[in-house]
Symmetry: C2
Subunit: 217 residues, 2 copies
DNA sequence: TCGAAAGTGGATGCGCTGTATCAACTTCTT
DNA sequence: AAGAAGTTGATACAGCGCATCCACTTTCGA
């Protein structure tokens, strides 16, 4: 169809890589809201150079996150490979959310993308059956409450995702406390005395969380 | 201090009320993001009229939400008045969140106000001790897990608040399911067979939720 | 080595959105 | 009827992020 790919000039290739690196950094730290101008500046490159390589931001995002999204699918497969159904499910949730806690852009891509940029769309379709299996297996094994459905998982991820977003700058591991709490609610045979592994936030920390500007969004 | 209040002219008073009504409607339905122009138009009044009565949006918000915020404090007091500590706590959470589910502006005021506009600040100071008492009482009564602190409450409200926001247009009562789930996690003596009172969302509903534009914020 | 092709930079223009103003006009009050 | 109070909405303003353009620089290959 199209002409054969001509290799980029040496300097151009170098700059392309710089842009990708800078974008990776900024998306991870500040989310998808960063402007291409930000990225250009962070990459020590003119804005024009960025636009020459990537016609719009979406293309850049797609290029960067393709593999990241794959990771999540892999996580679900690993969870399914665990002989213990409950541990498999919990492991998936923990690792998946951890990924989102460490990468703001990924979290936004997963949760805040209106119609998915195709990329997310595809991932979701691959993920859904795995998720279903993960949940049903844990339920059939009697570990998960009987009235929990696979559809509950995305909602749970949203809840914890909110904690992740809001507490990220104050106490980045705090979300684990609330995941554990929710997991207690999900268990069929509620493990009584198991204490939460993450301490409650201090009054001061909550104060700072509440005063934090909301989003970005 | 200031001169004696001269009553507004009859038409002015009527317009003031129209503005207040329109603002109430719009803030409730669409959140605090609505512009004063929107409000003016909705009130069938010129923009200038709005600015004459309310120097800026914040003043209008303060005027409107003063009582709403009081309601929440009242709720906490009512919860504390319940002889059953657990039921008191749960009741407070359910009603408080219900208020937020029905009033987008209120929810945003409570959760998304950077430094509170004074109004929220004050309410929080009145609320905090009540909340502390509510939680500690339930904990001492052995209904609540021992490792739950009053500080956990705001975070729980955030989690559910996120569900409220995201599912409002698809299934406005869905948040109750996830509140119940969290409550199961909070109980000291996990009530085993009590099924969730709200059904899981359908696959299609989750789909629509995920495709919904995120915020506003 | 040198000229054409490829690549670069960043000031600049555009479009959008929300806030707030103002001067001509209308309505109320006494 | 006079003048104070109130109304109106077009319009100025400010901030933003996206994207372009073109004079200039670098690379490449004959």
């Amino acid at each position: 169809m199209s002409t054969v790919e001509r290799p980029l000039r040496k300097d151009a290739e170098r700059n392309r890589q710089r842009i990708l690196d800078a974008a990776q950094d900024l998306f991870t730290e500040r989310g998808l809201g960063v402007t291409l101008n930000d990225i250009a500046h962070h990459a020590d490159v003119g804005v024009g150079t960025v636009y020459r390589r990537f016609p719009d931001k979406q293309k850049l995002i797609d290029a960067l996150f393709y593999e990241h999204i794959g990771e999540i699918v892999t996580l679900a497969e690993e969870g399914l490979a665990d002989p213990d159904p409950w541990r498999g499910l919990v492991g998936f949730l923990e690792r998946g959310l951890d990924l989102q806690a460490c990468n703001r852009g990924l979290k936004e891509l997963l949760h805040d993308t209106p119609q998915g940029s195709g990329l997310v769309e595809v991932a979701r379709e691959r993920l859904l059956p795995l998720l279903g299996a993960l949940v049903e297996r844990a339920r059939d094994a009697g570990a998960l409450r009987a009235d929990i459905e696979p559809q509950d998982v995305p909602l749970i991820q949203m809840m914890i995702g909110e904690v992740i977003d809001r507490t990220r700058d104050v106490e980045p591991e705090l979300w684990r406390r609330y995941l554990e709490l929710v997991l207690c609610g999900l268990r069929a045979d509620p493990d009584p005395a198991a204490p939460l592994s993450v301490e409650a936030p201090s009054v001061d920390q909550v104060d700072r969380v509440m005063r934090m500007p909301p989003r970005r969004r």
